[in-house]
């Protein structure tokens, strides 16, 4: 990239052009910085995004862009970078559309060093930063808000979430937040193949870039298209802290960081912006291995006094559900009829109703039409949507949009995402002790306060058992991936539930041998709310599942089959949940056999971070039947 090199060359050449007096002052500043050991101060290291290596001692900057450094070895030598930065500040280059003066280009560094070293304006002239000032004035910052879109329907993986920062302007209020700007960090790519995107993203194959976007674009993306409820955490950053944050964002604008899904992701980098804003905040330290966005929100809310207020922004689908609670079946049926073009806005069945009810129906119909076209199910024509609104605008009644109650538990207040369990049990008469560890994240039986009901996602779940009489612990199960999406269907929403499970588990063979073997299983399903139950508190479901078992013990080394699962998941009380299911798999290919089970799982929450589990099973594999019982104490951390 010759452009970049020319730019760098100009940058480096500038200091040489300054006068001898400038050089003397530079030497003084460098001396002073060395005396005060400024280069090792956390403020400076944060500005450079220096982090310790996970595997070996030392630090380096996470920025992967030479334009971010003034010293050739600035990525690994914070002192050299500080001194080179001081040198470029003597540049008198004027700002243009293409390039800035280094004082403006590195404006957060400039202001921090100016404060620490008390720059003498006579000897180091301050350069005007017109573009930065215009940019800052346009943002008109008053408050910073951390924005967390929660999971979307039928997509448990989206529970991990995403975070962005929002810059709230002085003359906005809660009704006009669409006018704010958001700062996000994302992989810059036009890749449309999800798989390629996923794999390259794991290994830092994409450049991560900070972006600034009108907030309404983000609201459309999350609330309207993806139907994710959004949580907005307003922070208590002071004007000085907000300025520091914006100056630093300005520095980062064109800078590339390699994007890694698990650790150096959006959530991680936004935390580092907050660390720059408020020196002394230590938010990123606990995320050395991975950074789950919802955990990073927790890290922020854990800081005393950092949260001012939390605002909940329900998604279109959530609003539709709330509207439905205020209507009878006949009215909601009319709304659906309007969207499905079974009746027109001139229909008598609509017009004979009081205006207020007509308004409710028309508003619901429009929201539903929006939802359907956003989810790609059906493109309601714009003419039809226009007619709905036209009819609504002719009714002289106030808006009928209901207040959506704020969920009692926020995403940062739910159970923590890692789980350790200890327990005892018996299986076919043999007693055992069990220990299991789930690094992340949530299963159907966990308390779903702060999570999405019916969404399960677990990574790297591990279970070990010690059977009485054995002299060692044995690995019972290892499940790298386990996802279940249980999304109840009704007249308005018709998602297809699904599950997938990949890992190693024990199989019981005729001679009582129980080798560890690989299994991949999964399939689609349907779920429905029990009549009279709301919001999935009591759900019955069925899946059609296919399974592939691979192991040396099988004839031909494998068995493949399929079969149904039927179940009922319900809350007995706020603390007590049960899941009762029957599952039957007929393995017809490879080593033919049957596997059946009838299971009752129960969970009783002791408090938010601990629970008791009781499992009762009746199982069959090949010719053998056995009963099992286990009781576990679970602790979330």
């Amino acid at each position: 990239m010759p452009g970049r090199w020319i730019f760098l060359f100009i940058l480096l050449w500038q200091p040489l052009a300054v006068s001898a007096a400038g050089n003397t002052y530079l030497n003084e500043l460098v001396e002073q910085a060395r005396r005060e050991n400024l280069a090792q101060r956390s403020e400076w290291l944060n500005l450079l995004h220096y982090k310790s290596y996970v595997y070996w001692p030392g630090m380096r900057s996470l920025a992967d862009d030479p334009a971010f450094f003034n010293a050739p070895d600035g990525k690994t030598d914070a002192t050299a970078e500080l001194e080179a930065t001081l040198a470029v500040f003597f540049s008198t280059a004027e700002e243009t559309d293409k390039a800035q003066n280094p004082q403006c280009r590195f404006i957060a560094r400039y202001h921090w060093l100016k404060k620490e070293l008390h720059f003498d304006p006579e000897r180091l002239r301050e350069q005007p930063c017109k573009r930065f000032n215009q940019w800052r004035a346009a943002l008109d910052p008053y408050q910073i808000t951390l924005v967390f879109p929660a999971a979307y329907l039928n997509n448990p993986a989206s529970m991990y979430g995403h975070t962005l920062l929002r810059i709230d302007g002085k003359n906005q209020d809660e009704h006009t937040r669409l006018l704010a700007y958001s700062i996000s960090y994302a992989a810059g790519t036009d890749e449309t193949s999800g798989l390629v995107f996923a794999v390259r993203g794991l290994f830092g194959g994409y450049p991560g870039l900070f972006a600034i976007t009108p907030y309404y674009i983000k609201v459309r993306e999350y609330s309207d298209i993806e139907n994710r409820d959004v949580w907005e955490y307003q922070l208590t950053l002071t004007p000085g802290e907000i300025d520091r944050l914006l100056m630093h964002v300005w520095e980062l604008g064109p800078i590339r960081f390699d994007y890694y899904f698990f650790d150096e992701n959006c959530a991680y980098h936004l935390l580092s912006l907050l660390e720059v804003a408020r020196p002394g905040l230590e938010l990123t330290d606990r995320f050395r291995w991975w950074a789950i966005p919802s955990d990073t929100v927790r890290a922020v809310t854990d800081q005393p006094g950092l949260i001012k207020r939390v605002v909940y922004r329900p998604a279109t689908a959530t609003i539709i559900r709330q509207r439905l609670t205020q209507m009878d079946v006949r009215q909601s049926g009319l709304a659906r009829g309007l969207v499905e073009r079974k009746i027109s806005t001139a229909d008598d069945r609509l017009h004979e109703l009081p205006p207020r009810e007509q308004a409710r129906i028309l508003e619901l119909a429009y929201d539903y039409a929006t939802y359907r076209s956003a989810s790609g199910r059906d493109m309601t024509t714009t003419t039809q949507m226009h007619e709905l609104l036209l009819a609504r605008s002719r009714l002289e009644v106030p808006p009928q949009r209901p207040e959506v109650p704020v969920p009692a538990v926020r995403p940062d207040q739910g159970h923590k995402t890692s789980r350790l369990a200890l327990g005892v049990g018996s299986r076919g008469g043999r007693h055992f002790e069990e220990i299991s560890l789930r690094p992340t994240y949530h299963d159907l039986m966990d308390d779903d306060g702060g999570y999405t009901r019916g969404a399960q996602i677990e990574f790297f779940n591990m279970t070990w058992r010690h059977y009485r009489g054995d002299d060692s612990l044995r690995l019972e199960e290892f499940t790298p991936l386990n996802i279940v999406s249980l999304s109840p269907r009704d007249d308005f929403f018709t998602p297809v539930s699904w599950k997938i499970n990949v890992g190693w588990t024990r199989k019981h063979f005729a001679d009582n041998d129980e080798p560890l073997m690989f299994r991949a299983s999964g399939g689609p399903g349907l779920a429905f709310n029990m009549p009279g139950s709301h919001e999935g508190k009591s759900v019955y479901y069925g899946f059609l599942e296919a399974a592939l078992d691979v192991g040396k013990r099988f004839d031909q080394d494998y068995a493949m089959g399929m079969g149904p699962t039927l179940g009922w998941l319900t809350n007995i009380s706020d603390r007590w949940r049960i899941n009762l299911y029957a599952r039957s798999l007929r393995y017809g290919l490879g080593d033919a056999h049957n596997a059946r089970e009838l299971t009752l799982e129960q969970r009783y929450s002791l408090n938010r971070q601990s629970a008791l589990r009781l499992g009762l099973h009746r199982k069959q594999e090949f010719q053998d039947y056995w009963n099992g019982v286990d009781i576990l104490l679970q602790y979330y951390f």
Binding site: D97, Q100, R131, Q134, W135, N155, S158, G161, H162, H175, R177, L178, L179, Y181, S184, A186, A187, G188, T189, D190, E191, T192, G194, L195, F197, A198, G201, L209, F210, A211, I212, T213, P214, Y216, I217, R220, E221, I225, G253, P254, F261, F262, C266, A267, I292, Y366, S375, G376, R377, T382, H386, L389, R392, S393, P399, R401, I483, V496, W498, I500
Partner: protein, 164 residues
């Protein structure tokens, strides 16, 4: 079953600077939205969640100012109202049909409607919904023109028609 979802919004700035100068209308400087068929199998669902693939146009690169309506990532003040309407048409239509809502509140703020005139503004846009949305999918220019006209013919709000 899952890959039918329309999920990804990519933002595109439609014209480079040269086109802008020649053709100073909103069509030359809108944040048009582009819906793409997202390929969302199960693997990408697992992994594509902590990020959102965005096109390079969205970043506020330092050599920015190339997009015509933004400078360093923020919308130039002369384009603010037009860009907001361009990006919020369906929401504005919904809000105007009921005379309430955050898109309409935000538009009122951009136009500079004072608090004492807000109720009138909401009422007038609702009553004139059919004029402002004269077709089922008006262009931003058409909407700006009809909104200006509607305000101009209202005695209380006439003064605001100049700010559009």
């Amino acid at each position: 079953m899952l890959n039918k979802k329309l999920v990804v919004v990519a933002l595109m700035l439609s014209f480079p600077v040269g086109a802008m100068a020649a053709n100073e209308n909103v069509g030359g400087c809108g944040w048009g939205s582009k819906l793409m068929d997202g390929n969302r199998g199960i693997a990408p669902q697992v992994l594509a969640v902590t990020t959102n693939g965005t096109s390079g146009n969205q970043t506020f690169g330092i050599s920015s100012g190339t997009s015509g309506c933004t400078q360093d990532g923020v919308v130039k003040s002369s384009w603010k109202t037009a860009m907001f309407i361009d990006g919020n048409k369906t929401k504005l239509a919904r809000d105007m049909s009921t005379g309430s809502g955050e898109a309409l509140e935000s538009l009122a703020k951009l136009i500079g409607i004072q608090d004492q005139h807000k109720a009138a503004f909401f009422q007038v846009t609702k009553e004139n919904f059919a004029r402002i949305f004269s077709t089922d999918s008006p262009t931003t220019d058409q909407m700006l023109a009809s909104l200006k006209q509607v305000l101009a013919t209202d005695s209380e709000l006439a003064k605001y028609s100049q700010s559009i």
